[in-house]
């Protein structure tokens, strides 16, 4: 055999072996999930960025869990109760729960976790403002002292940053210092984590599922896959191709352009999650022309929302023109209060409002970024064209995400910025309502209503208060909503029990992989 023949034979054998190795990888009863990015660290308490909670959402649990209707249900807690004055909230813990390290969960672990969460940014600060102390009373009871009556704490504790980790794992770690190994109680245990490569979660043999029926991240967790493997892939078409070739079982966060092709492919199943999130724009209510409410009303009245949403989504099947600031129709907070005639422009009113605002044609600085996804940029571009028909000039500033986040925090540097808003477990934690959030809406009536919402424990009364807040939003227009968009992902044919609720888009522990 001459040299060239030997090389050709070698190449053939190598190619065959590579192909075989590749095929073998796809045969295991693992659930392989391709996601746009992996968290850079596993600890969910150190950040308010939801994308960084992915692994912890599947490996950890809180005292409560969120069902598909956005309601808190018991998870590590067996039950909870308030005292007569509603100033003490007592959680009874489930017995026989073990951490991934093998240690038994006690109230000391819960107290350590919640005290750390209390010191964290975002919703942790909300918990801090509503509680004066968290302490253990015996091994299976945790007592939360409240600063006043409130109904939101069980909901807050469904959030991933509030998960329970062992006290030993948290030792010496402040709320800004990441825990290296998350020692949790969930149905899967992190067995390998390499940032930018993969996160492998293996079934936790000592997991004790709840008896109730599964609903979102509440109820029974069955853990049907031997392992869940999360793999990062930034390019959407390559995420899709991984599923098409069988190298992955699920590819998340895909653009709607892919939907028709995938729908007609017998090897895969596209899954649409309706009512996923609102596409929005936030006004600078502190400084500049948008500090004038007449100007904000003029911009809102000039916009035709259907064209804006169509530009963003590409197909009417993937959005709804809906005014609710809580986009999921299954949430108890969903309401159309205060939004009569939403989405339809009112030409005469725009002219009147512009005159009232004294608008002289000065350009409005609209910040947006393409780093997030086209849902930020395309609505802004379409709105710019619509507003120019009324002589409202938009200086559309497209910038990297880091620049966008910093620029919008300075009231001197913007008038409007593009944003989005998912459904939250409780409206109190909607960041837009915070007066320090960029946009800086600081209205005495709003502050009073939000305080009332936080400190009322009767849920029916709270729904009414939220309805009043939405009416105020549609009157004062500190931010505007264009519509509600869906999202979609694709799975291999044969993958079962796929999630379709926007309440639990990061949860995969009940998904059934293709059989071995």
């Amino acid at each position: 055999m001459n040299f060239i023949s030997k090389c050709a034979a070698g190449l053939f054998v190598s190619a065959f072996a590579m192909t075989t190795a590749h095929t073998d990888q796809a045969q295991a009863a693992d659930l392989r999930i391709v996601v746009p990015q992996l968290p850079s660290a596993l600890d969910p308490t150190i950040t308010t960025l939801g994308t960084n909670w992915l692994v912890a959402s599947n490996a950890c649990e809180g005292l409560t869990g969120l069902d598909d209707n956005w309601q808190p249900q018991p998870m590590l807690a067996d039950s909870w109760s308030y005292d007569e004055k509603a100033l003490t909230l007592t959680f009874k813990l489930r017995s026989g729960i073990k951490f991934h390290s093998g240690a038994a969960m006690t109230s000391d672990d819960v107290v350590a976790s919640l005290k750390r969460y209390r010191e964290s940014a975002g919703t942790g600060a909300v918990l801090k403002s509503l509680t004066s102390d968290i302490s253990a009373e015996g091994p299976d009871t945790v007592v939360v002292k409240l600063t006043g009556p409130t109904g939101i704490i069980p909901g807050l504790l469904t959030l991933t940053p509030a998960v329970i980790m062992s006290k030993a794992a948290l030792a010496g770690k402040s709320a800004t210092q990441a825990v290296e190994t998350i020692d949790c109680t969930g149905p899967y245990k992190v067995t390998e984590f390499q940032a930018d490569r993969q996160a492998v979660l293996s079934r936790f043999a000592d997991y004790k599922p709840r008896a109730e029926a599964t609903s979102g991240s509440a109820g029974a967790k069955r853990a049907p896959a031997d392992r869940m493997i999360f793999m990062p892939q930034a390019e959407p078409s390559v995420r899709r191709d991984n599923v098409l070739t069988g190298a992955a079982d699920i590819a998340t966060t895909l653009p709607f352009d892919f939907y028709a092709d995938l729908k007609s492919n017998a090897a895969v199943q596209p899954v649409v999650i309706n009512d996923n999130q609102s596409l929005t724009a936030v006004f600078n209510t502190k400084k500049g022309p948008m500090a004038n409410v007449a100007m904000r009303r003029a911009v809102y009245s000039a916009l035709e929302m259907d064209s804006i949403m169509l530009a963003a989504e590409g197909d009417q099947a993937f959005y709804v023109i809906d005014p609710s600031w809580v986009p999921d129709r299954k949430s108890i907070w969903y309401t159309k209060a205060g939004a009569d005639g939403f989405g339809t422009p009112k030409k005469d009113l725009v002219k009147k409002l512009l005159a009232e605002a004294g608008y002289k044609g000065e350009p409005l600085r609209w910040l947006t970024s393409k780093d997030f996804y086209q849902g930020h940029y395309l609505p802004a571009l379409t709105a710019q064209q619509q507003l120019e028909e009324y002589g409202i000039k938009i200086d559309l500033q497209v910038m990297p995400a880091a620049t966008y986040i910093q620029t919008r925090s300075d009231a001197d540097k913007f008038d409007v910025f593009s944003s989005f808003l998912p459904t939250y477990v409780d409206p109190v934690v909607i960041p837009y309502l915070n007066a320090t959030y960029p946009g800086f809406w600081n209205d005495p009536k709003k502050e009073e209503l939000v305080k009332k919402l936080a400190t009322t424990s009767d849920q029916k009364a709270r729904v009414e208060i939220w309805s009043d807040i939405q009416k105020l939003i549609y009157d004062q227009m500190p931010y505007i909503k264009f519509g509600t968009e869906a999202s979609f992902y694709v799975a291999r044919k044969g993958v079962g029990n796929l999630q379709t609720s926007p309440a639990n888009t990061q949860v995969f522990y009940n998904v059934v992989p293709v059989a071995k």
Binding site: S14, A15, A17, M18, T19, A21, H22, T23, Q25, S40, A41, I46, T47, T48, L49, G50, N52, A121, G122, T123, A125, T176, Q177, A178, E180, Q194, A195, D196, R197, Q198, M231, P232, Q233, A234, E235, S237, V238, D241, N242, L244, T245, A247, D371, M399, P400, A401, A402, T403, I405, Q406, T407, S409, P431, N434, T436, Y437
Partner: protein
């Protein structure tokens, strides 16, 4: 030779230090706050300010510079804001991936480019020459990311020969590792091989017109010996320059290829770190890339000096 080597080593200092200082300043002067990036958009300004203080980002710029320079000199590159790992531990993991792909792509580029360049030159103005030149121009013009997507469609989605994306380290199986770098190396190597093909062809055409080649042919030496032993050796010298430039490009991390194939290499690490404003990682990666490029340039200079004594004479 020692004096020449000493001069080149001294020149390495500004090559490494100037980009580092520029990166330090640009990162801190550019908008974007690492603390805000870490905490996310629900954090309040006071929470962000507290974290900035904890990270030392509220110190005056000259103080930060002195602390940074001290750390660089002692090779204490700090801890990544996001990975929460020492940068000195993080960089080798990513650099090895880039090195593996760069070497595979470079081997492919040099082998393919040299052969095609020689074939085109000895068939000057023929159909084969025009075809190869056309393909080379096309190869140079194709954006790498587009070529990568085409390769995925053909070899991964349609033929299923290779995985679509991802990376398997050699320690987990040489064949599986080779399979994960095959398409990225091909996507990178094709463009570089097109450059080398054109350079080799042009260099060969110059050499084939030299009197010593005419003499060799007149003496009746076999054509294969004239081309292989005399012409190619001389024509290969300018190709070393192009190959060196290609190596510099490949080692500094081919960002688009690493992103498309989801390869945890230096380019991807750097671009993610810039987006997240992870200062220690950006500075560490730039230091590593600057050192690698300076070392590569030194090697090329030394090879040139060895091949051609006139270079040493200045």
């Amino acid at each position: 030779m020692l004096r020449f080597l000493g001069q080149r080593l001294l020149l390495m200092i500004p090559t490494v230090v100037v980009p580092l200082v520029l990166v330090f300043l640009l990162l801190r002067l550019a908008p974007g706050d690492p603390a805000a990036q870490i905490l996310g958009d629900q954090a309040s300004p006071s929470e962000i300010a507290a974290l900035r203080s904890e990270m030392g980002l509220d110190l005056p710029l000259p103080v930060q510079f002195v602390l940074w320079a001290k750390n660089i000199v002692t090779l204490k590159l700090g801890t990544s804001f996001f990975f929460k790992q020492p940068v000195i531990d993080l960089l080798p993991q990513y650099a090895l991936v880039t090195l593996q792909i760069a070497l595979a792509a470079l081997f492919l580029a040099v082998a393919l480019g040299s052969i095609l360049g020689v074939v085109a030159a000895i068939n000057k103005d023929g159909v084969l020459d025009r075809g190869l030149v056309g393909v080379a121009v096309l190869g140079i013009s194709l954006p790498e990311f587009w070529l990568a997507l085409l390769l995925i469609f053909l070899f991964a989605v349609t033929l299923r020969w290779f995985p679509v994306s991802g990376y398997v380290p050699p320690a987990d199986g040489l064949l599986a590792s080779a399979a994960t770098i095959a398409l990225p190396a091909l996507a990178l190597g094709i463009r570089q091989s097109a450059l080398i093909t054109r350079m080799m062809r042009s260099s060969m055409l110059d050499v084939l017109g030299e009197p010593y080649i005419v003499t060799a042919r007149a003496q009746g030496l076999p054509e294969a010996m004239v081309i292989g032993r005399y012409a190619v050796r001389t024509a290969a010298i300018p190709v070393v320059t192009v190959a060196g430039l290609s190596a510099s490009y490949l080692l500094s991390g081919a960002v688009s290829i690493e992103l498309i194939f989801s390869l945890p290499g230096l380019g991807k690490l750097l671009i993610d770190a810039v987006a997240r404003r992870d200062y220690p990682v950006v500075e560490g990666a730039v230091l590593l890339i600057a050192l690698m490029l300076a070392a590569l340039n030194l090697i090329i200079d030394v090879v040139y000096a060895l091949l051609d004594p006139r270079v040493r004479m200045g």
